[in-house]
Subunit: 294 residues, 6 copies
């Protein structure tokens, strides 16, 4: 639709991260439209074009320059041994903000208790290369590391062990598996093609985009908090405020009063509000945020 | 998951109020997770734990100290004759902010016109004890007050009268029933165990929680309204403002102008905005709110 | 439900625009309730009453005074040759803010290349009168302009050509049709009965309503942006700001600093934020808006 | 997909009748596939091809020979004054098997009581031509018969009267309308192009198709009922059977017994089964049917 | 809608059994329509009328003659001590055909191991009266049997024990409860008012209805199986057939062969078919059934 | 749940074939329950146990004896080079009964027209090994055959060609791809471990199961057709019948008539019924089938 060649090609993750990614871009200021089954979403910035890839494949396409940047997990960068630049972390998964872990797991009732016990055994995993390297580096001779098409947990009882990804551990528990080692932890990343990263115009655009995406992530779970205070109470009230944030103090027309505004976490707000009220603050209110630049 | 014993146990209402309650807590700053069919939601504050009860049973568990506080209707506190402390009203039902009423109703075509006409009759109701007390206090001898498992309206034609709850009266009209008396009105309440209420740490936590819940309820249906005005127009413009709210007047760098900010109801805003514009205000805009502390 | 005769009767568009219209009114400060299949929504302002009409018919009912004002497309005002006053445009369709177009289209493979080629042919369309006038004005003798009940695209291969509405052109492409002329472009309008428009009280109410609806539309896709700056950097930072917007500069308690607040488009924000940060601005954040009065 | 030109082109009704029509064809032995938004369903008989039309337009396309046969209501054949052959009725609507009626209706509270009262008035309807002819034949001078795009009931209060279609009358009652005359009754029909009907091969195919569609309709609401009886009880048992059906009596290996099989309505079955059991029948059972050729 | 007074009033169970009950009546030959939120379904037999009640209340309304017959669980007949006639069992629940059990259950980790251990304790249950009688008959002094409004499992840890209903035991296991006694087993029943049962016309109708309902239940999970066999193989083949069923043997035109037809369970069919084929049967096929009268 | 070791372990396909497989087993006489996310469905035959695998992996687990039999595509048997016994085809996919094809495809606009043109190119596919073998056997040196995680069609424009599976070709057309060769065709199979196949008890069970599954597949798309005919018309009528089927001719009590019963395809039935009626047959009806043993 635009005749102009876009400055930057972005790979967006298809599948489980797709909707939360589009949502994040929306809050960052970009409207991304995925038409029907098209793999080429449109994006309302003539400098950007985008394509959907599975997170597992993303880093390969970034490395090869098919796209300039992409969003994927650190784990798949490592698995693919992709030579890319990791620009920043993007922690926007809903359930939890903790990294996922790739673990070596066996049935609870099995006799395997440490990686070495698996010598001569078979291990099933979706993370083939990393698992092979893991056992090689430990000098543990494995009979076979075999590729699993998913539902890896269930295979722990068909072979000797599995290497699988876990966020909260609940699926491992449900399948009565025991973790005997952790191979890797991983979070979502914005990654860039190395050549693109050395191109000045592209790098500027990537850094700006990273700033906006991070700003949108920060705004989640924070609110703007406002209140009025007597000038004589100002020090007391500023003393209650969390050290990390620096409140803005505005002049009011009535010179005995000042207005204070601060950005705080919702979990901080809930502790702060009762204290502020007891310290004499009035007209306390809070409002939702769109973007917070650290 | 937390080893620490929580300070306060909260009873949350299961059923029709459940989703709006979780939503209210979210806006108050608490994330409550109900996993699958568990009755013990998790809550992201180590000082709190929670359990789901039917609103009908809540006050019994608060009275017995199974939980320290609970959210339920005033009607069921009375029905259960529970000896609890009512901390505050929480008016967050969506459809309307009016109290519900428990009414004595008969078929439109029936000959009953006042409570006394029901002497010797049968009354079906979900509110067994309160209905019995009502007729005893009035010295009206009823043959039987029988428990209804729901769909009480339809039984008005199978027995002599019913005592049922109504919010807007639409279900009564749909079933062609006529109200001949009101036994009780009721709203949702935050209630506390009496012992918990005398424990200083618990009471402080309860009061803080009440403040945040009320703040979140207040924010619904209000907006923050901002505008700039010439200093010479200030009095005129403040005169237009609703008396109840006290606007904050900020100094601007350009000393001929001031910035005014006020929290108003959305229904007030729609009348106010055209008047402000006609009075010379500029840069008028409004924004949604998260919490308003009265 | 209200005994008082409402000041203004509004026609709301039934069908594809209905939900976005109710949503717009909500953000403008009016709660409109459509009960079940009723055509008479209730509205929480005693001065207003409302009725639902198909957009195609709206202008006829406004012209006749059945309602005082209505929301419909300019195309159907023209099609119906209705003598009404167009108060303002209301551009709140979700997919795009571009006008829709009514186009003359033929199968890609057909031999028709200009309107004149259709002389003696049959044209199917939902926009009967305007199509007839179009060919009359061009002096092209058409055998028949026949009414189409919808799915007009598919008929392009059953007759000689169609006149159909298109927003993005995607349906035309999917049906392999070629556009050979554009008859009309159209956007959504607030239209008023001419008599109502000369009645002082009604006109005042219409203008206020238009102000609020436009304010709510403006707020979409804009954010409030705030930041602190050193007084010495103020001119640089104001120089970065888009010319169209005039920022509000507030005094801070620390006299070396000022607070700046401005309303900007989300697409402007995404360019502005990185520049502001590079220019030394701190405490940059943005928040969603409810209404913006231009 | 088939190179061969199909013998017969069928118009299938798009919209409310679509799913039940496809279902009927399935039970008649034809699998009709509607891909996505295509208007050209595929059909697993190389002699047939099909296209979807709105029921309102069907008869025009049948008359013009765009399709050889079509399924539509008798009402729209009349409205379009289409010169087609009506092959048979197809009564497969789910809710009721009664014909629909097009009625002249006015508000309950109106002063109009007979068609003549509408002289000089305005009538809104979707059935434009038939309504005009109706008043012309009755010599009632109407000011205007105006086209309604649907939701005609609601217009009865905006103009003087409406002509609308009704199946059970519930929508009329809900809108508090009173019927003052019936213009037409209608059922679904299989209609044929007159030329196609005189072509021997096409007519044979149409008659066969009609036989199968009617057979599938008959099978709905009927069951096959089987039982064994002593030869001595045979006359008694046949006497219980409904007169309309002629049971098949089979020889059994045990010459003292016979097997009886009959096709009956489910509402007949429920009366018959207890009687048969009391008359000594054994091994009574029933089974669902696919097609019944009268 | 029918002027005639219906012969029999039926109470149908509202709630979890409702849909499977309507489905059962449909297969028995009755179409029951539940309009919107009406409690008075219509039924296509002028001799029948129906009303919806909760299963818990059903027997009270049958006993009082508000309805002549009803469908409910045996447990609630006992709980309500209702003096009604139980006509037959109706085993049509989908998940399993085993009776439900009301059990006395305690937390797995508790020290209670037999009913006597609960002396002086509190028991929560929905089945108030039966639980009280149970402890009275066992002479176990209970402090309180308190009414539970549902989610009774979760209360086992708030009081001392619960009495709750279980079908497969999975909810008990999920809540880590241990059963220490069974109070009652129960299945669904067709129950009749005692006076109605002595009225000849009503009893005839009730018995016919029971026959049809049981016939429809029997047909589930059975098929009609047909095959041809050489007359010389007949004895061998009949020897393979299950003893309980008596096959029908038909004469064929070819006198060396006979046709055999038998009604069998689907689980029997799967064993029978391979054996029949090995024994020389040909043209083996099976078909679904609608009703089987034992 | 069963203490007895099951005779046979079955691998059922997880994913797109899962529901239709469970449905097939149901009609074959087996109820398979998949609880929540369990991979071990229960099955109501103590001789059987089951486990869910992806079709891609199935043959490996059958070959290794993890399960005795499995249901999967012939393509994945070949891809995995699994040494298993193919018991029979099971053609129960809904959309079509034609085999799927794995094709080598390129963009419509590309210059590749035969496999040899891809020498030195990159090919993406889910069928890695078979694709490599294909090019090796043809002696075409490919730069890389790379694994595709799905959505392979879209990659045809990122690399040189793809090998992808297609049933109707519609996805290829939608992506504007051109097929230049077919590598393999495939249908669903019942496969058995070779050792299990030589075990007499297991083989008997496998053959019985195959008989029942094929019987259930045959019954789809066939009906039982019955009619009465005059004995004098018998030869004519039998002459109309399809040669493949042998009708059963029953004696009727009225010796001038016979009853004829035959199993036919629904597509045959629709041709047959009109002919039979014209030949004098009466009481023609058809009914659905559950199982047909060829």
């Amino acid at each position: 639709m635009t005749e102009q060649e876009p400055l930057l090609k972005i790979g967006l993750p298809k599948g489980s991260l797709q909707n939360s990614t589009l949502d994040l871009f929306e809050r960052a200021g970009y409207r991304v439209n995925v038409r029907d089954r098209s793999y080429f979403p449109t994006i309302n910035d003539p400098e950007l074009s985008s394509v959907l890839f599975r997170a597992q494949e993303m880093s390969r396409y970034v490395e090869d320059g098919v796209v300039d940047i992409g969003i994927t997990g650190h784990d798949w960068v490592i698995e693919n041994q992709s030579d890319v630049h990791e620009v920043c972390e993007l922690v926007y998964s809903k359930a939890t903000s903790k990294p996922v872990r790739w673990v070596l797991a066996v049935p609870e009732e099995s006799d395997y208790h440490k990686p070495e016990d698996l010598a001569g055994g078979i291990v099933a995993t979706e993370l083939l290369q990393s698992t092979r390297r893991y056992f090689q580096e430990k000098n543990i001779p494995i009979k076979k590391v075999e590729f699993s098409w998913g539902a890896t947990e269930v295979k722990a009882r068909l072979v000797d062990a599995i290497v699988d990804v876990t966020e909260t551990g609940s699926s491992l528990r449900a399948n009565k598996l025991r973790v005997i080692d952790t191979l890797m932890t991983s979070t979502t990343r914005l990654i860039a093609n190395k050549e693109a990263w050395t191109d000045e115009a592209k790098r500027r655009k990537i850094e700006d985009l990273a700033l906006l995406l991070e700003g949108a992530i920060n705004a989640r779970g924070q609110v703007g908090l406002k209140l009025n205070a007597r000038r004589v109470d100002l020090d007391t009230i500023l003393g209650i405020m969390p050290a990390a944030q620096s409140p803005t103090v505005n002049e009011l027309a009535d010179r005995d009063w000042v207005a204070i505004e601060v950005i705080v976490d919702v979990t901080v707000e809930r502790d702060l509000v009762p204290k502020l009220k007891r310290a004499g603050a009035t007209a306390i209110f809070s409002y939702p945020l769109n973007k917070v630049i650290a």
